[in-house]
Amino acid sequence: MEMTEYSSTEMMAVCGAHAVKDGERVFAGTGLPVLGAMLAKVTHAPNAIIIYEGGYVDTQNKDLALSVADSRLGYRAAASIGLIETLGFLMMGGRVDVGFLGAAQIDEYGNINTSYIGEFEKPKVRLPGSGGGNDIASSAGRIILMFTHDARKFVKKLDYLTSPGHLSGPGSREKLGLIGKGPALVVTDKCQMDFNPDTKRIRLKSVHPGVTPEWVKENVMFDLIIPNDIPTTAEPTAQELETLRTLDPQGIYLGKGQK
């Protein structure tokens, strides 16, 4: 079979989609997670229910959203309510299976910074902040993190801890009464990582075609666990790519013309 060319961004979106199971309640933010969740719903997970924190529940939008409050998400949604509904009754109520998040930095336990780069007292950059991120990281059944790979994002110590990963290791989420199970998967444009179930420390899960485990090890700022026999991530199928591109025909998130 002839391979269809694809971009690293498309690879990420497809990995995100694969992480959604049929019938799950999915909390999606804007950006690539939107595409991942939508792709899952039109391929292997038609019974997934997608929720956006602005208040949209069970969406079937035809156009891509730029905001979690975008009117596009209101078209054919089952409900348009509000924040206390989505982040309160649904999320803190323990009714969401999986949440997607981005990050500017994560540490070895999948703790997340989306607030500040540099010292809190005199930050170099003010990032967007928590938004609903902390709420999602606290209470969604499991978390899928998606961001482009850059060594400076995988740090030994976060500049600021915005949203809880596995905090300081086994048992620490439970001790604080957090109902979600924390990060399960990290998807970058180079690899996928997951977490050791016993130690809760991050480890390499698969490398995307053309990437080596050694490259990944050199491109994180902590001592990454590399298990033996790291597989290569399955490439997107022609069908998946075709569907993905129809979901984002203008290349808003996938980018234009890149391969």
Binding site: G82, S130, N134
Partner: protein, 303 residues
């Protein structure tokens, strides 16, 4: 039955903005790209207000212009960016200058703080924020959040201080002159905001009759008794969107994000789009009928 006169709370944008003094604390409505009080933000700038503190979940173009013009430099907030278009450019620059003070909360935390204020209770519990730097790192408040042992179950639970702001400001699709407000599409945290404020100001795209309100009472999200002022202001959320009425002006937002990366660019934008027009009508004239027509929503889709 004696017929009561229908109270008239209508007022102009200019007059209602004059009622907001320097240093006022405002619970700020709209969420993401949906129904933000843009025209109000621009009028606060034209009237050169200072020392405003804003409480809100998500802040985007509306609050970024307030930061640029230094009308508001204090925030209790969950999110500040222009979502898919990137970081808010004025916020980024003013933060580097050390001028902006944030108290960071999560979105649910802010919504619950509004709910607490609306219920007239001093705090609200939340199962989130615990375990993070949001608990301890503070700038504006001595007591930002506290963890207690629940007196019923013994579990650790975080308490958040409720908000009862001087003003609550939202935009909606329709209201009558008495301030009975209909919101179509998502409500964000606007229901709570109008109920937690000492004075509520509502900007609507259209004033409808009290009779129309009474024909669909289930559509009234905010009864008039919570509302002090009603301003009829078509395109009051431009360049953002109002579900069912108009879409966001993406070209303008992209231009904004690009232009305001530098102080010079921002000053040019400020002069041209905010100070350079006399009022909201002047702004609509500048945008032009052709563009406004393009932005009108297709009723079939709502955008």
């Amino acid at each position: 039955m004696t017929e009561a006169a229908i109270e008239d709370k209508r007022i102009t944008l200019e007059e209602v903005t004059k009622k907001v003094p320097d240093g006022a604390h405002i619970a700020w409505g709209g969420f993401g790209y949906q129904r933000p009080p843009e025209a109000f933000a621009m009028e606060l700038i034209r009237q050169k207000k200072r020392g405003i503190r804003v409480y809100t979940c998500g802040s985007e173009h509306d609050l970024d212009i307030l930061v640029g013009a230094e009308v508001c430099l204090e925030f209790e907030v969950a999110f500040f960016a222009i979502e898919a278009l990137g970081l808010a450019p004025n916020l980024r620059r003013r933060s580097q200058e050390g001028k902006v003070k944030f108290e960071d909360y999560s979105n649910l935390a802010m919504a619950l703080r509004f709910l607490g204020g609306a219920l007239n209770v001093p705090f609200m519990p939340i199962r989130h924020m615990i375990g993070t730097d949001m608990m301890e790192k503070t700038r504006l408040r001595k007591d930002k959040a506290k963890v207690i042992d629940c007196p019923f179950t013994g579990m650790s639970i975080t308490l958040l201080p409720s908000i009862q702001a001087d003003f609550g400001v939202i935009c909606a699709q329709k209201a009558d002159q008495a301030g009975n407000v209909q919101i179509f599409g998502i409500k964000g945290e606007d229901n709570e905001i109008t109920r937690c404020a000492k004075k509520s100001i509502v900007f609507v795209e259209e004033i409808i009759s009290n009779e129309e309100i009474r024909q669909h009472p289930d559509m009234t999200m905010i009864p008039g008794l919570y509302v002090d002022y009603v301003v009829e202001l078509p395109f009051g959320s431009w360049p953002m969107q109002v579900f069912g009425i108009y879409d966001y002006d993406l070209a303008h937002l992209q231009y904004y994000v690009q232009e305001c990366k530098t102080e010079e660019g921002w000053q040019k934008y400020l002069d041209e789009w905010i100070l350079g027009v006399e009022n909201h009508e002047g702004l609509l004239k500048k945008i032009g009928e052709k563009r406004l027509k393009e932005l009108r929503a297709d009723p079939k889709y709502g955008y």
